[in-house]
């Protein structure tokens, strides 16, 4: 076995261990801040696995999107609404845990069965390495154009929804409870768009 091969194997074992243990930590830790930070570690380890597969562009995109954007936003949300309140104990917590554990175990058995029974082509197709950036770009602008555009429309919809939910001053009634919003309480830089101006 050459030096390169053994290095690759060691890297794979370490990264795989980080992914598995980190994901378990994300689910099982009771402190949600630890879970969020561990999630970032798991994303980084997945990016490392992409690197091992010689897909450096995908690895860099994974770091940029999942660690730099998704995980930072999760942390942001947790820290902005980090109210220290005692939660009410849920009834039948043990039973719920058993049930969800059972569902997860069933899913795991199903996936293991798929992995074992599929005839994988070993070794897989050769990685194109540095040419991947161009290949991904070509696909995004030709045969994957429609999914790409649909994803951007979906993101736009999510963004508008988030803005409407966050800026209560543009709505007459609270989205959650249906109570009328007291417009006097909200500081506004400009007159709200969606509030009926004729009633005041």
């Amino acid at each position: 076995m050459t030096i390169a091969n053994s290095t690759e194997l060691i890297c794979f074992v370490v990264l795989a261990a980080v992914v598995v243990l980190g994901s378990l930590g994300v689910v099982l830790l009771s402190n949600i801040v630890y879970s969020a930070f561990l999630l970032g570690g798991v994303f980084m380890a997945v990016a490392g696995l992409y690197l091992l597969l010689n897909a450096s562009f995908v690895a860099a995109a994974q770091v940029l999107v999942y660690v730099g954007a998704v995980n930072v936003l999760i942390l942001f949300a947790i820290m902005l609404v980090n109210k220290r309140e005692d939660l009410k104990p849920v009834e039948g917590l043990q039973l719920r845990r058993l049930l969800s554990g059972g569902v997860c175990a069933g899913l795991l058995i199903l996936l293991v069965r798929v992995v074992v029974s599929t005839p994988w082509a070993v070794p897989g197709p050769a990685a194109i390495g540095e040419g991947a950036t161009e290949r991904i770009g070509e696909h995004l602008f030709t045969d994957y154009l429609l999914p790409f555009e649909l994803a951007s429309v979906l993101l736009l919809m999510a963004m508008i929804g988030a803005i409407v939910l966050a800026r209560r001053d543009v709505l007459e009634a609270d989205v959650g409870t249906g109570d009328a919003v007291d417009q006097g309480l909200i500081e506004k830089p400009s007159t709200p768009l969606l509030v009926d101006q004729s009633t005041r």
Binding site: S56, F57, A60, V63, V72, F76, E130
Partner: protein
């Protein structure tokens, strides 16, 4: 329209000095296998660049002290060595031997991990900084994209240290730092994208090669003046330099996320921010100011003097000139950043976010579209 970019990229650049090849060949001449020779070579450029980064920080700290003193009509450090050049070493030594305090109610693990997460991505980004045709650690294909994605890890470290300090100023500083860095990353990436579009490659070496056809006239700054300004503003914001140093605004937040830190952990933040400043200046010079290129192409000079570009002496001189030019351009930008720090007032958080989202983002999008249009209309001038 799908074009094959690999065929469009010119491959007519002289290979220049290849230290790795000569080093591994020398070791193989001593009877070692190519693999072992490669293994011995691997840590050398990394160590060299790490030392270069640290020395760069020491020089920057000294410059900061001296220039701030000049701006305020003081003398600045003068006793530690001639002109006070040893002052940064004294600062570092002081931080090294200082007591390492972890606040009693802080989260010890995250408190320690935070500064590390801030420093490591910045040092890793030096991987792609080229000082010459072959004078960089690794000419990775994703190049400049690697730097953008690595710099997006930093906010996690800042949030982590802000949260773990268990202090309201720290948390606010961490949140501000993360918000600022997310907002300015987008215009930064878009202005880099315009440059990448012109050079048809993400690799920093290709970006510099594409600028060095006609010396100073072919530098990207003439073709991307708006992108250059956007990039520089965003780089200052990413480095949390004044006028964008809100996360550590002394009057409002004590020192932001660094408030509870002392000793070596504080030094890691300090080191990280200065390494980041030098790195940003280096990348501005690589992306917009021709990288290692001399204002008049070295090939022309060699031709006028009747020397072959491939002659060993000319190659060594070319490589040295390249390193000097890269560092010189970067330090001129560092000087500009220091001057800006000591002459401009700090912006408010709403002004900062307005500038980022309502001005720089649309401007960089327009810059990208105009670059694409110009590339289609004038393919020869805009790297078609």
């Amino acid at each position: 329209m799908v074009t094959n970019l690999a065929t469009a990229a010119p491959a007519l650049v002289s290979p220049g000095l290849d230290l790795e090849l000569s080093f591994t060949q020398a070791l193989q001449g001593l009877g070692l296998s190519p693999q072992v020779a490669h293994l011995i070579w691997l840590p050398l450029p990394m160590a060299l660049v790490l030392v270069a980064a640290i020395v760069g920080v020491l020089v920057t700290v000294w410059l900061e002290r001296k220039i701030s003193a000049a701006a305020q009509q003081r003398i600045g450090p003068e006793y530690a060595g001639p002109l006070g050049v040893l002052q940064p070493m004294a600062d570092g030594l002081k931080l090294l031997v200082k007591e390492d305090v972890i606040p009693a109610r802080a989260d010890g693990l995250l408190f320690t991990l935070g500064p590390v997460l801030v420093l490591v991505p910045v040092i890793l980004s030096w991987l792609i900084v080229p000082f010459g045709q072959n004078l960089l650690i690794s000419n990775v294909g994703v190049g400049i994209f690697l730097w953008i994605s690595l710099s997006s890890i930093q906010p996690i470290g800042l949030l982590m240290s802000g949260y773990a300090s268990n202090n309201k100023y720290s948390l606010l500083g961490g949140l501000r730092a993360a918000a600022q860095s997310i907002s300015y990353e987008i215009p930064l990436a878009l202005s880099v994208l315009a440059v990448v579009m012109m050079s048809n490659s993400l690799s920093t070496v290709d970006i510099v090669d594409q600028q060095n056809g006609a010396g100073v006239l072919s530098w990207n700054v003439w073709r991307q003046p708006v992108g250059f300004l956007i990039f520089w503003i965003c780089a200052l914001a990413e480095c949390e330099r004044l006028p964008f140093d809100l996360p550590e605004a002394e009057e409002e937040l004590v020192a932001g996320y660094q408030t509870e830190y002392a000793g070596m952990k504080f030094a890691l933040f300090y080191l990280g921010s200065y390494i980041n400043l030098v790195l940003s200046a280096l990348l501005v010079s690589v992306l917009y100011l021709g990288g290692w290129g001399f204002p008049i192409p070295v090939e022309w000079l060699a031709g006028w003097l009747g020397q072959s570009v491939d002659a060993p002496v000319v190659q060594v001189i070319t490589a040295s000139v390249g390193i000097v030019m890269t560092v010189l351009k970067a330090y001129l930008l560092v000087f500009l950043a220091i001057l800006l720090r000591w002459t401009t007032p700090r912006v408010r958080i709403d002004q900062l976010l307005d500038l980022g989202w309502k001005f720089l983002l649309p401007l960089s999008l327009a810059n990208l579209l105009i670059t694409a249009a110009l590339k289609l209309v004038f393919p020869s001038a805009f790297g078609g």
